[in-house]
């Protein structure tokens, strides 16, 4: 712990150095030939823009619509991914019927769904939620399948010998056994669903952080671009950390097991 504390000044200094470089490069309009800082706003301008956004009423509309889209798409993906994953992981029949079509769809990046999604869904709102859902579904599904398949068959046999029936085995043995793997899938899925949402918003949105970032580019409010980028990063990081924290709370045995 104390060793960690001693390392903090260096880490902080590194961050400050980057910030300083950004400031100098942007103020001097540094041109490196391959790329240029000519249009990059200074940290100071970004800070001002951030303050302006955060104190305006628009911020709630942008944040609110982004968060609600992510929440809706992610919640459906989590529910469907975990239940399908448990089914596929535990039943050969479900694996044969459900997995092949999913395997075909899996390599298609969620972003590639955008044009079709706009055509398929009546509102652009729903199409964006769908894109978020597609992004989160596969990491959650595949990790759940993996977790359910890896459950020790001796635990299942033992539970049956103790009188557990089908549903009890699913709830008492398979689900908790797969839970650490499911949590990993949920954390990865959270990251991908943010990534997909922002892309979808840039193309189809009217509100939302992604839309805000893209709109700032078209309106040439360059400091706002960076504010949008930073917001996306903070929100993605925050929600992933939240999922991991909740996951750790749901699997208290897991840490002691690995430590012991």
């Amino acid at each position: 712990m104390t060793r960690d504390l001693k390392r903090w000044p260096v880490r902080l200094a590194s961050l400050l150095a980057c910030l300083l470089f950004w400031h100098v490069a942007a103020s001097a309009r540094l041109d490196l030939g391959l790329f240029t800082f000519t249009y990059v706003p200074t940290p100071r301008a970004v800070l001002d823009a951030a303050w302006q956004l955060l104190t305006s009423s628009a911020v709630l509309a942008h944040l609110g619509s982004s968060l609600s889209r992510v929440f809706a798409g992610y919640a459906v993906a989590a529910l469907l991914g975990v239940s399908l994953g448990l089914l596929i992981g535990r039943s050969k029949w479900a694996e044969d019927t459900l997995l092949p079509p999913l395997e075909v769809l899996r390599p298609i990046p969620a972003v590639a769904w955008i044009p079709l999604a706009i055509l398929m869904f009546p509102s652009s709102e729903l199409s964006m939620v769908f894109i978020t859902f597609t992004g989160a579904l596969f990491p959650i599904l595949l990790n759940t399948v993996h977790g359910a398949e890896a459950v020790d068959p001796r635990l299942v046999a033992s539970a049956r010998s103790l009188g557990a029936r089908r549903w009890a085995i699913l709830g008492e043995v398979v689900l908790p056994g797969a839970l650490p793997s499911i949590v990993t899938g949920l954390a990865i899925g959270m990251g991908t669903s943010w990534f997909c949402l922002v892309t979808a918003e840039m193309i189809a949105g009217q509100f939302g952080i992604g839309y805000y970032t893209w709109e700032s580019y078209t309106l040439q409010n360059y400091p706002d671009i960076i504010v949008g980028m930073l917001l996306i990063g903070v929100l993605g990081m925050g929600s992933s950390a939240l999922v991991k924290r909740l996951g750790a709370l749901a699997t208290p045995w897991y840490r002691t097991q690995r430590a012991g």
């Binding site: 068959p153 539970a159 010998s161 103790l162 557990a164 008492e172 045995w253 097991q257 012991g260």
Partner: protein
């Protein structure tokens, strides 16, 4: 232990022309072949044999995890048609649920019967007391030593008051001292909760120390080649291990097992063949 209710009835086992096939297609083989045997209610029987001889396979069939391909296997005249809390199984390595506390693990069987939380926890505490784990009720299974895990496992099986207690080399992975203590503890528990015990082991000392009767099995196809009745007085203690009568039986068992040396067979498990997809169920000794 005053309020402990006795088991309904220790079970009587009857096997008649029993064969069990393992593996698929051309790989299939009979792990045990045409076994005829009976075990009296309340008897402590050890099945002794070399690794891979099919003794765990027989245990798996008794538990209901494996289905015989020929013959009859009954407990109290009822054909075994699947796992049941009436036939409790203890594996070589514990199968406690890692996500349940020791107390909840022991109470698991009662939960499956729909017993209320307060009542099942009360009974589980009593069982933990019986196996000497009263102070560890709130721990995770992974926080216990190997011997404690097996004690919790035994408590978890016995809370269902089974007619049969099936044990597959339950102390095989423990160190010698712990094993000796666990054997005495098991006999002590068995004196209080008198159920039929079928105990699989390849350790001659262990079989002689514990059993009323030893069935010696030859490897593949597994067949009983000897039926030894032991009448060492109970309660038994460590001094038995050095008595002349014990040595006499030990020599006899060694001779029976010796001419099978040189044949190494892959281990079998009560769940069939060790699955290639999963880590081996049991560590070779």
């Amino acid at each position: 232990m005053s309020s402990y209710q006795p088991a309904p009835e220790p079970g009587r086992i009857e096997g008649c022309g029993l064969s069990i096939r393992l593996g698929e297609g051309a790989e299939a083989f009979e792990a045990v072949q045409r076994l005829d045997f009976t075990v009296a209610p309340g008897e402590f029987v050890c099945i002794l044999g070399p690794s891979g001889c099919g003794k765990s396979t027989l245990l798996g069939a008794l538990a209901g995890h494996l289905i015989p391909c020929a013959g009859q296997l009954t407990v109290d005249d009822q054909t075994i048609d699947g796992p049941s809390p009436q036939r409790g199984m203890v594996f070589q390595h514990h199968t406690l649920l890692p996500w349940r506390s020791v107390l909840d693990n022991v109470a698991f069987g009662l939960k499956m019967q729909g017993v209320g939380k307060a009542e099942r926890q009360r009974q589980a505490r009593e069982m933990l007391q019986l196996v000497g784990l009263a102070d560890f009720a709130g721990r995770w299974p992974s926080q216990l030593s190997g011997g404690m895990q097996q004690r919790a496992e035994i408590a978890r099986v016995l809370i269902n008051r089974p007619r049969l207690l099936l044990m597959d080399e339950p102390f095989g992975a423990l160190d010698a001292q712990t094993r000796a203590r666990m054997q005495e503890l098991l006999l002590d528990i068995w004196a209080r909760i008198h159920t039929t015990v079928v105990f699989v082991t390849h350790d001659i000392d262990e079989a002689l120390f514990l059993a009323d009767r030893i069935l010696v099995m030859s490897p593949r196809p597994g067949r009983f080649i000897e039926d030894l009745h032991l009448d060492f007085p109970r309660p038994r203690c460590a001094s038995l291990l050095t008595s002349p009568a014990f040595t006499h039986f030990k020599r006899h068992c060694l001779a029976l097992l010796r001419h099978e040396e040189g044949r190494e067979l892959p281990r079998l498990t009560p769940l069939g063949l060790p699955d290639a997809d999963h880590p081996p169920l049991r560590i070779a000794l």
